[in-house]
Amino acid sequence: MTATPAVEAWESDFDVMDPGYLSDPFSIWDELRGSCPIAHSNRRGSNWLPTRYEDVTVIAHDIEHFSSVEVAVIPFKGEEPEEPVLAYGLPPISADPPLHTWTRRLLLPWFSHRKVASYEPMTRELCRRLIDGFGSEHGVDAAADYAQQIPVRVIARVLGVPADLADTFTGWVRDVLEFADDAERRQRGMGSLIDYLLPELERRRSEPGDDLLSELLASEVDGRPIEDSVVVGAAALVLIAGVDTTWSAIGSSLWHLATHPSDRARLVSDTEVWPLAVEELLRAYSPVTMARLVTEDVEFQGCPMRAGDRVLMNFPAANRDPEVFPEADRVVLDRAHNRHVAFGSGIHRCAGSNLARMELRVALEEWLAAIPDFRLADEAEVTWAGGQVRGPRCLPVVFS
């Protein structure tokens, strides 16, 4: 990661990769909501950062002025190849209608709640196996040794690629999302992912299996097969969107439980609170920020946005807006009114949200069943990644 000059004025010169923002964005958002609810910065191009729930959700629904053709929070600084393999990026996330509409419909049935229920037993077994395999009875890195190990293996199963490659996939996804500021590393991660998927595609052409890749290949739209670049783009998206995000949500939730004994005790003893509690943890520690490209000059809430500017869709800050969530900075496990937008808002609502929720719930259930009592080993050792996806990367805990 490249070092960034320290931020002095968050209203006019924010930087989502600033170390202060990575470790505690919450107080920065609180301040901005009071002084300048849509901040601006010229670092990495002209970017806007809304922090109020209403502004974020209105922009998410205005797909005419705010396009999804550029959703990376850190714009790519390297050289784009003249004929990219992924001619359409990663649809549906990087697409507007009509491309968005039909590519999204291809993915949705793979993540319906019925389908997701069929992945639950393997997820539970995986979590148990990880816990049984902890090298020590005293403690573990809850991010690296647990949270990080779960979603990638579930996604590998959905895609029909070997779970043995989990660490390799994780490395590529981190290169693309977490180390996006390093253009070369980012390009290498994306390139490796595509180079891996292309021969997998060929293999399934002759030997189709019961997996998402095979089904995408076999699907027809308007009587014609889907272009390979769309198949690879959508498959790469599922891997990129399904791994870091969910692992970060699991990690943040474990961080919360490590630091809040009464919430931990409540989850252990009160099974009825779980459905609300999982949503509350998603709200409070929403991992994902996306970007939008402004399509034409527009004044939004007094901000003179120009065509080509980018807006950072600050779903995490929207979820901490006290106008919508009383005591927004406090986790209230049984919060009954919780229209959180951790999975976005509008037509790009996370296609994997049912899966993500199931994984988060099962990961926490299994952890708490085995380890009801634990705390941080040393607060100073905890590190957070951020930018597009926020979550702990190093989270040493001790079992009590």
């Binding site: 049935p109 319906s112 389908k115 949503e279 229209r339 609502r349």
Partner: protein, 64 residues
């Protein structure tokens, strides 16, 4: 109490189903609709209100 889901607004967050699976059906594409004709039995009214208050798209409404 009777409820309905506005299919134009629903984006498939599935919060309704998560909170009150007896009251909603969700298709393979995430679109929610009310079970039956949307009539809520008295013992489920509280959960229907919970679903209404948690839908991020304001897609669920009370019709009577």
């Amino acid at each position: 109490m009777r409820i309905r889901v506005d299919p134009e607004k629903c984006q498939g967050h599935a919060r309704c189903y998560g909170l009150a699976p007896e009251l909603f059906d969700i298709d393979d594409y995430g679109l929610s609709s009310v079970a039956g004709d949307g009539t809520v039995p008295p013992e489920l009214e509280e959960r229907a209100r919970l679903a209404i208050a948690n839908c991020p798209e304001y897609a669920i409404g009370e019709t009577g």
